[in-house]
């Protein structure tokens, strides 16, 4: 009896967990309407999961971060991709932490792009995304990170001699690959490149490093 009870209760616990998982991961339906809040509560801390894994569609475009720096005389440098070296090393050796580093830096560009795109959409009511406190918080954080990174990057360009950086500017490039129908007949890599520029930021006190 004791053996049967132990087996039965373990199987019951397993069935309950699977049912909660089914409701939590499933599409909106009657079950989710009835048990959704319970499933959310049950799963959110220890059993949170998301298996989108490039679904429903993988992202078609890629976002890239570009920086340029102005020297003491106010002359701007070329636009540079600060992660090009990291990307190259990641493509050369996969068993490293470079991939995660790129994910982290890539998220700055992604967040800035999403905020900028949400602001471009017409905002007719108070509840729209661009006006939300969350969006403002993300925007603030992403811009602060991008600025901090750009300043550090510009100062690192000449580590051997202190260089005056009077201003920095960054932009997000959105790279769209060729459609697969054109991929064989066209020799260029990208179909088009979109740009989201951000205003130049002057360095406080002339940016003396």
């Amino acid at each position: 009896m004791r053996y049967k009870l132990a087996t039965g209760l373990a199987a019951l616990g397993l069935a309950f967990h699977l049912f909660m998982m089914f409701v939590y991961l499933g599409p909106p339906n009657l079950l989710q309407l009835r048990f959704g809040p319970l499933a959310q509560q049950y799963m959110r801390h220890f059993f949170y999961q998301n298996w989108h894994l490039f679904s429903p569609n993988p992202a078609i475009s890629s976002s890239k971060f570009a920086v340029r720096c102005a020297n003491g005389e106010g002359q701007w440098s070329e636009w540079k991709d600060p992660f090009a070296g990291l990307q190259e090393r990641h493509q050369l050796t996969r068993i490293t932490g470079y991939g995660k580093m790129l994910m982290m830096f890539g998220d700055i560009a992604q967040s800035l792009k999403e905020v900028a795109l949400s602001e471009m959409k017409p905002c007719e009511d108070k509840g729209c995304i661009a006006n939300s406190a969350f969006n403002r918080e993300i925007k603030q954080q992403a811009e602060a990170l991008a600025t901090r990174f750009s300043i550090a990057y510009c100062r690192q360009q000449h580590p051997d001699r202190p260089v005056q950086v009077s201003a920095i500017q960054y932009k997000i490039l959105e790279l769209f690959p060729l459609q697969f129908t054109e991929s064989q007949s066209n020799s260029k890599k990208w179909d088009r490149v979109g740009e989201i520029p951000f205003a130049p930021i002057a360095m406080p006190q002339g940016g003396q490093s």
């Binding site: 132990a6 087996t7 373990a10 397993l14 220890f46 894994l53 890239k64 995660k100 982290m104 992403a142």
Partner: protein
């Protein structure tokens, strides 16, 4: 099988091996990022970070977000490495799993943007493994034994089901995507800056058919895995395909830790008996006496290599024509010449089994032991051995007239 859940632990050895594999993965994930720790986890990391919300959950699992604790993130990292290391060696395995889980969540909460499906799966499996007896020793009989066994078995099945659910959910969600439907998902994935690779991207551009085949086979695999993985007949094929797919993701798309944890999750589906044999093969081995054919150049080169790699001093090299060892000398001459013979303290081995016994005693070759066991138990190893042993090119000199360099 469910009926026996409270009577015996059906996954004793597999659970032990999986605990070791998962903790190794946790360690590896942290070690790969350790050179960049300040950039990724430091106070001035370049990552959007959550704020400490003062809930009970945050005090245990997101303590690193607390402004007073954040500068000491390295303590969490080294504590995680230590607890995972102790867990790997089986010291208080359940307690070490719990510590590793808490510390991993604390580290992961520092930089949520670098987490992927692999991190999500590893966290879930760490929780489920807390229910499982991963010590490798059966629960001692007592009033609580049936309950502990039943919970352990249910926890292990939950780990297996979780892996199946990953594929089921991902497969169903992909079915709604037009790029997966028209077979061009892989083309766009490999053209992207984030997950692409110049070489594979170029291949996809030249032969878009590769994308079509790859996309559809991925979809079919994800649909079939949750069903066919329970069939003993189909399981090896599914696992073989899954390994190719996930190693492709690891090295082609650069999602190394995700690809690796998915490959490791297949260990959950390896039968307990097979894992028992595998684990036994790593135990300390007794010395072995091997009779190498003195007239065979290949055998002599192999013997010299074995002597170089025999760091534990467990292999005594002897001759097949005139062995010094009495057990080898007692064997008929024809047997000693046709297949390599060996004796350990326990038993006699010949042919491919001798090669397995030799390689088991060479630490540098321990990673290939699983492959050798598959070859030995499938009979392919012996078949290949006989082909090589009887090949005419093998003998570079005649018996008794062989000059060795």
């Amino acid at each position: 099988m469910i009926q026996s859940w409270s009577r015996r632990e059906c996954f004793l050895h597999t659970a032990k091996l999986f605990r070791i594999a998962l903790l190794v993965w946790c360690m590896l994930h942290t070690l790969l990022l350790l050179p960049f720790h300040a950039t990724i986890w430091g106070v001035d990391a370049y990552a959007l970070r959550l704020t400490f919300d003062d809930s009970w959950y945050a005090w245990i699992f997101q303590l690193t977000l607390h402004p007073a604790v954040a500068p000491y993130y390295l303590c969490f990292i080294f504590a995680q490495l230590l607890s995972a290391g102790l867990g790997i060696f089986g010291i208080w395995p359940r307690f070490m799993l719990a510590c590793t889980y808490i510390l991993t969540l604390n580290i992961n909460s520092l930089t949520g943007v670098i987490l992927d499906g692999g991190n999500n799966l590893s966290q879930l499996l760490l929780v489920y493994l807390l229910l499982v007896n991963t010590s490798g020793r059966p629960v001692a009989d007592g009033p609580w034994a049936p309950w502990l066994r039943a919970i352990s078995n249910a926890g292990f099945v939950l780990c297996q089901l979780q892996v199946a659910i990953v594929y089921l959910t991902a497969g169903l969600l992909k079915s709604n995507g037009h790029l997966w439907q028209n077979g061009m998902a892989l083309y766009y994935l490999f053209q992207s800056e984030t997950y692409g690779h110049p070489l594979i991207g170029q291949l996809m551009r030249q032969w878009p058919w590769l994308s079509l085949i790859g996309t559809y086979t991925t979809l079919i695999f994800q649909w079939l895995f949750p069903i066919l993985i329970w069939s003993r007949r189909w399981r090896p094929y599914l696992i073989a395909f899954g390994l190719i797919l996930h190693l492709g993701i690891a090295f082609g798309m650069g999602l190394f830790t995700f690809g690796l944890v998915m490959c490791l999750s297949y260990l959950l589906f390896v039968p307990d008996d097979a894992v028992r044999i595998l684990l036994a093969s790593y135990r300390f081995s007794s010395p072995i006496r091997v009779g190498f054919d003195e007239s065979c150049g290949l055998c002599q080169r192999f013997a010299r290599l074995v002597l170089k790699l025999d760091w534990l001093g467990l292999i005594r090299v002897d001759g097949a024509h005139q062995p010094a060892d009495p057990s080898l000398a007692a064997l008929p001459y024809a047997e000693r010449i046709t297949a390599i013979q060996s004796f350990s303290a326990e038993q006699r081995y010949q042919g491919f089994a001798t090669l397995v016994q030799i390689l088991r005693r060479l630490p540098v070759l321990w990673p290939v032991i699983p492959v050798l066991l598959v070859l030995e138990h499938s009979g392919w190893g012996e078949h290949a051995y006989v082909r090589i042993a009887t090949a005419s090119w093998r003998r570079s000199c005649d018996a008794g007239a062989c000059s060795l360099p």
